[in-house]
């Protein structure tokens, strides 16, 4: 059994890095992830953590250093958010292409312009094609747990891909919650040391990050594709091992009151708790609603989403990001998951909670009302719906 502590989300991810015995933490602090390198620097200064903390001159350099350290065989963690993740973007693809199991905690925050520091999934959603595994935490306990599990999944030799754990800006990163912090010996039993396949070694020189001509490039990308596919079963295995060891259950998609539901809300991140409470309220009024929370977004949980879809008449998909000119990214991916399913539910996209706007029970009432209308009409009039849009602000010059 661990020790109950009341901590912020950023502390939860930092303590996870300490418990994982991370060797190198290259970081360039950015709101709302600043507390992560601060906490690590305290651990290192106090001698509680035997790690190299590299404070770099930019996020691009932080990820570059992470790649070098990981190629040298170190276990590496970092944290960033928003614009910082954008500056890392080029190096994210190199980390995944070089098959380096770096783990990053991302304090999900909106992107400029206009500048905004609050909760939003635009930063990680824009990196959904970067070849990184993506996990989304609902609370601080999940931030810690997913961070620990991310190392084990990423470092599995069937996978060897980097992983990011998203925790919503401020709602999680800066909010105190009771968290069960596992004991070091428990984590040591759960998470063995990282065993790299190749390492940078002056006594045995090798070329890392080499050239790939048209004759080979496709096969390297296919090898990454296969690793991502294999990650599905590794995730299930590690989630099961974690539950056995620590007693906390994780699933790629967690369902709540979905069995007889007409309307199922698809959520990610911190809004999931609000969604479950909103569903209870809707049920009291006779509206059969449920929630399916996506914990894993890459690899995309196709089979689980199809199972959820088979139970519902309407999928109300909450998107805390928007792909301008298309829809929300989660809606787009779920649509593709159901493209060849003949008996699929109606799909509705709800753009919600951008730039930290609160997501309330009233928002769920509004979404449920629209979903019920679609259910009654048997068709979706408007696929992409902007929730709680302040229309009185629009039309200015």
């Amino acid at each position: 059994m661990g020790v109950k502590q009341v901590v912020k989300g950023n502390f939860a991810t930092a303590v996870a890095a300490k418990l994982a015995r991370v060797d190198v933490v290259p970081a360039y602090p950015i709101t709302p992830s600043t507390l992560f390198p601060e906490q690590i620097s305290q651990y290192v200064a106090n001698g509680e953590m035997d790690a190299e903390l590299l404070l770099t001159e930019s996020e691009h350099s932080a990820m570059s250093a992470a790649i070098g350290a990981s190629a040298a065989g170190a276990r590496v963690a970092t944290a960033t958010a928003s614009q910082g993740l954008k500056l890392m973007s080029e190096m994210l693809f190199i980390a995944s292409g070089m098959r380096l199991p770096i783990v990053a905690a991302i304090g999900n925050r909106a992107l400029s312009a206009p500048i905004n520091i609050w909760a939003d999934h635009s930063d990680t959603m824009a990196e959904r094609d970067s070849g990184w595994l993506q996990f989304y935490a609902e609370n601080n306990q999940a931030s810690l747990d997913l961070m620990l599990m991310a190392f084990k999944i990423a470092e599995d030799h069937r996978v060897l891909l980097p992983a990011m754990v998203g925790l919503d800006a401020f709602v999680l990163t800066h909010t105190m919650e009771g968290v069960d912090v596992p004991l070091q010996e428990e984590v040591d039993e759960f998470l063995p040391p990282y065993e790299p396949v190749y390492t940078l070694d002056v006594n045995k020189p090798m070329t890392f990050g080499s050239f790939g001509t048209p004759a080979h490039y496709t096969e390297f990308k296919y090898a990454q594709w296969e690793a991502m596919e294999r990650a599905r079963e590794v995730i299930d295995e590690v989630f099961a091992q974690f539950e056995e060891k620590f007693g906390r259950k994780y699933e790629q998609v967690s369902e709540y009151r979905t069995d007889d539901a007409d309307i199922i809300f698809i959520t990610m991140g911190s809004v999931s708790g609000t969604a479950r409470a909103a569903v209870d309220r809707l049920r009291e009024r006779g509206i059969k609603a449920g929630v399916a929370k996506m914990v894993v977004f890459r690899p995309f949980p196709f089979e689980r989403i199809r199972e959820v879809a088979s139970k519902a008449k309407v999928l109300a998909i909450l998107d805390r990001a928007v792909s301008q000119g298309l829809s929300g990214p989660v809606f787009a991916d779920i649509s593709s998951a159901l493209a060849n399913v003949s008996d699929r539910p109606l799909l509705m996209d709800f753009i919600i909670g951008l730039g930290g706007r609160d997501i309330t029970f009233k928002d769920f009432d509004d979404m449920a009302e629209k979903a019920q209308k679609a259910l009654k009409d048997g068709k979706v009039e408007q696929e992409v719906n902007w929730v709680n849009l302040r229309t009185e602000l629009l039309g200015g010059e």
């Binding site: 060897l160 045995k204 080499s210």
Partner: protein, 98 residues
């Protein structure tokens, strides 16, 4: 045929020597050895280290390594024998014939 490795790691040090990269050439520099003045300007400027330097003491002229020469012509441009009107040209670019 060799299989691809994890993350495109190349485990064989110095393996670039296995690849002759001079085949891209359309023009090549040709030396007239008796006109070489052993100044080694071509060797200094060659961007591909495709020139073996001359030895002035032994009066041994430069040697061009056509396995790696890309035919850029910088050696011909920098050749001091070529620049000096009182000397005969030592290097000339000629079309590659296959």
């Amino acid at each position: 045929m060799d299989k691809i490795t994890l993350g495109a790691v190349n485990t064989e040090p110095g393996s670039s020597l296995n690849y002759k990269t001079g085949s891209w050439r359309t023009m090549k520099p040709v030396l007239t050895p008796e006109n070489c003045i052993f100044c080694n300007m071509c060797w200094q400027y060659c961007p591909d280290s495709a020139i073996e330097p001359a030895d002035p003491k032994e009066k041994k002229p430069i040697v061009i390594d056509y396995d790696y020469c890309k035919g850029c012509g910088i050696c011909v441009q920098e050749c001091l024998a070529n620049k000096n009107v009182n000397l005969k040209d030592a290097l000339a670019m000629v079309p590659e014939e296959k």
